[in-house]
């Protein structure tokens, strides 16, 4: 293997890793806010891609607005699901009863509803692709060839991550959201509307998933089924990062992208598909707290 192929595959690993990291951020945000592992995460991405595609083809909006439309649509859907379904599940659960299985099943149900709902539109029968947002001759950085599209993906993801960081560290709403996810009961005691904050978290997380859908839709063919594999990659990225640490998740996503590409050029291209599962199992068995996760916290029953 030449070193050129190596650099090239690392570079394109970083590009796809950025998108994995975004989707994983959405999964982890939801997990931190409401202790729900969102199995519909991939479907939110798929829905975001279709929202962007719909806005571009039917409303003929400029490309930048497509991101906004996808984000807003997904914010609304995520918040509604949280309000209508999850609140009701929580309300019916007896005090102290574990709701993990119920929540996961609710999100699985949602993923089926979204897939079936999207298929209702005959527009989605054909596999489609978003037009690329940025075109131009590819640029060369040393031996590495990069498309403008790839650079756009990386920079938009990084900008979004930076915005999230500032939001969570500097703004009051962000701090309140963090407080809610760290200890909902204590947050409620000091007057934070916990349920509303969970609603915001769900909305925000789904909006991120929606934007990453528009980003990834320009690289991968979109079909109603394309969310599933993305969700797996997001889970793997989240687990590498420790499932609760946001910076860890970003690193996990990028690492996963690189690992996948390296597996592709060193072992075989069919092994790419199995990489996330192997990564999930290895990390969970040997380092369950993830690369950046602190000590494994044991939740008291």
């Amino acid at each position: 293997m030449s070193s050129m192929a190596l650099y090239q595959s690392i570079a394109s690993g970083i590009v796809s890793g950025c998108v994995y990291a975004l989707v994983a951020l959405s999964v982890v945000l939801i997990f931190k806010a409401s202790d729900v592992v969102n199995f519909a995460g991939g479907e939110f991405v798929m829905l975001g891609a279709y929202a962007g595609l719909g806005a571009l083809t039917f409303l003929e909006v400029p490309y930048g607005l497509a991101y906004v439309i996808a984000a807003l649509a997904l914010f609304f859907i995520g918040a509604t699901f949280n309000k209508v379904v999850l609140d009701s599940v929580l309300k019916r659960a007896k005090h102290g009863q574990r709701t993990l299985v119920a929540m996961v099943i609710a999100t699985l149900g949602l993923s089926y509803v979204i897939k079936g709902g999207v298929r209702l539109f005959s527009f989605t029968e054909e596999v489609r692709r978003l037009p690329s947002a940025f075109s131009g001759p590819p640029i060369f950085i040393g031996p590495v060839v990069l498309q403008w599209q790839d650079i756009a993906i990386v920079s938009i993801s990084l900008a979004l991550m930076l915005a999230l960081y500032i939001f969570f560290q500097k703004t009051l709403t962000g701090k309140v959201l963090r407080a809610t996810s760290q200890n909902p009961r204590a947050a409620a005691l000091i007057g934070i509307p916990v349920q509303l904050m969970q609603l915001y978290s769900w909305g925000l997380a789904c909006a991120i998933a929606g934007v990453s859908g528009v980003l990834i839709g320009a690289k991968l063919p979109i079909s109603p089924d394309f969310g599933g594999p993305i969700m797996l990659l997001a889970f793997a990225a989240a687990i590498i990062g420790g499932f609760t640490s946001l910076p860890g998740v970003v690193i996990g996503g990028i690492l996963l992208g690189i690992i996948q590409n390296l597996v592709g050029i060193t072992i075989s291209s069919t092994a790419i598909a199995v990489t996330p599962f192997v990564v999930i199992m290895l990390v969970l068995v040997f380092r369950p707290q993830g690369l950046l996760g602190g000590r494994h916290r044991i939740k008291k029953v």
């Binding site: 009701s88 299985v101 699985l108 298929r119 209702l120 068995v285």
Partner: protein, 326 residues
């Protein structure tokens, strides 16, 4: 409640068993096909329920063992001509052994980490079924030849029906005995509270590993049952969608109760047939209807259909409620 299984409780099973031999004489092949599918799912769902509903372990690896059982039985038959009556136990034990191997690292995890690790394992196995072409036939599938059950050739729904029925009755009876046994009660204790179970002297990890193994054996038997009536195995049948289907069955019916699981199996294995005959665009509606059923049942019947029925019939105290008041 505890003690041994009474003869009265076994009576419905005996009736079913007899039915297994006589029903094929009167019904047409389509109903027998539905019956075979239903019985296979029943064994599969009871196996998952032993792990999830009894032992409280949220694991997703069930379809991997299902596939393992199916491919092992079929391949033993195809490559070595080993009859079903020998191949099925081998497949079940192999599934059980792999289940125990998976359980040893997996039982160190809990909750969502367990779910994700087993989910990854199941997807990994799916990948193996899908790519190991020389053995499993890959994504094109594996043609299953007719099996030899005690000298009888089983190749279609009519001949498979009594065999499936016998196997299902056997597995249900085993589950009934298990629920009365010390092991079964230890599993329920772990589900209700691991700490309390541990302080009562229950070896929590050992019991969890055994629950994984038993559950995998059930899945392996279901996989073997798959080879009886079906003539073709493709990896999709052992993928994520099947895992969700079985999960839906036990959640909608009522987790942790045999009648509940059977209700769930009955409703959800017949649903695709009903949808197929009443709706035109089958796939869309199947997904939408499944999704809605999952969401609505978890919203309004968190303990499943059977849980709601039995809760209304006898307003008995929940065991978990007793535990809380201590």
């Amino acid at each position: 409640m505890y003690g041994s299984v009474s003869l009265r409780q076994l009576f419905p099973l005996l009736a079913l068993l007899l039915g297994g031999f006589f029903i094929p004489m009167f019904t047409n092949e389509y109903y027998l096909y539905l019956g075979n599918v239903l019985m296979m799912y029943a064994v599969l769902a009871i196996g998952l329920d032993i792990l999830m509903g009894w032992a409280g372990q949220f694991a997703f690896a069930h379809t991997a063992f299902f596939g393992l059982g199916c491919y092992t039985t079929a391949l033993l038959n195809i490559k070595f001509g080993i009859p079903f009556i020998v191949g099925m136990p081998i497949a079940a034990l192999l599934a059980g052994a792999v289940g125990v191997l998976v359980a040893i690292p997996a039982t160190r995890m809990r909750d969502i980490y367990l779910a994700l690790a087993t989910f990854a394992f199941a997807e990994g196995m799916f990948w193996v079924f899908n790519t190991w072409e020389p053995v499993t036939g890959g994504s094109t599938g594996l043609r299953i030849i007719s099996s030899n059950v005690l000298g009888f050739k089983v190749s279609n729904d009519v001949t498979a029906f009594p065999v499936s029925m016998s196997l299902m009755c056997l597995m249900i009876a085993a589950a009934m005995y298990l629920s009365k046994s010390r092991l079964g009660r230890e599993m329920s204790a772990i589900r209700d509270s691991e700490h309390v179970a541990m302080s009562c002297g229950i070896d929590v990890r050992r019991t969890k590993v055994i629950a994984f193994g038993i559950s995998a054996i059930y899945a392996g038997v279901a996989g073997a049952m798959f080879t009886l009536a079906q003539s073709f195995a493709s990896p999709e049948q052992f993928g994520f969608n099947t895992a969700i289907l079985v999960l839906t069955m036990i959640v909608v019916g009522g987790m942790g109760t045999l009648p509940g699981v059977m209700i769930g199996v009955l409703i959800l294995s017949m649903l695709p047939e009903v949808l197929r005959t009443t709706m035109r665009s089958f796939q869309i509606w199947q997904e939408l209807v499944y999704g809605l059923i999952l969401i609505l049942s978890i919203m309004f019947m968190p303990r499943g259909i059977w849980g709601s029925i039995s809760g209304h019939l006898k307003k008995r105290e929940l065991p978990s409620k007793n535990a809380k008041s201590i």
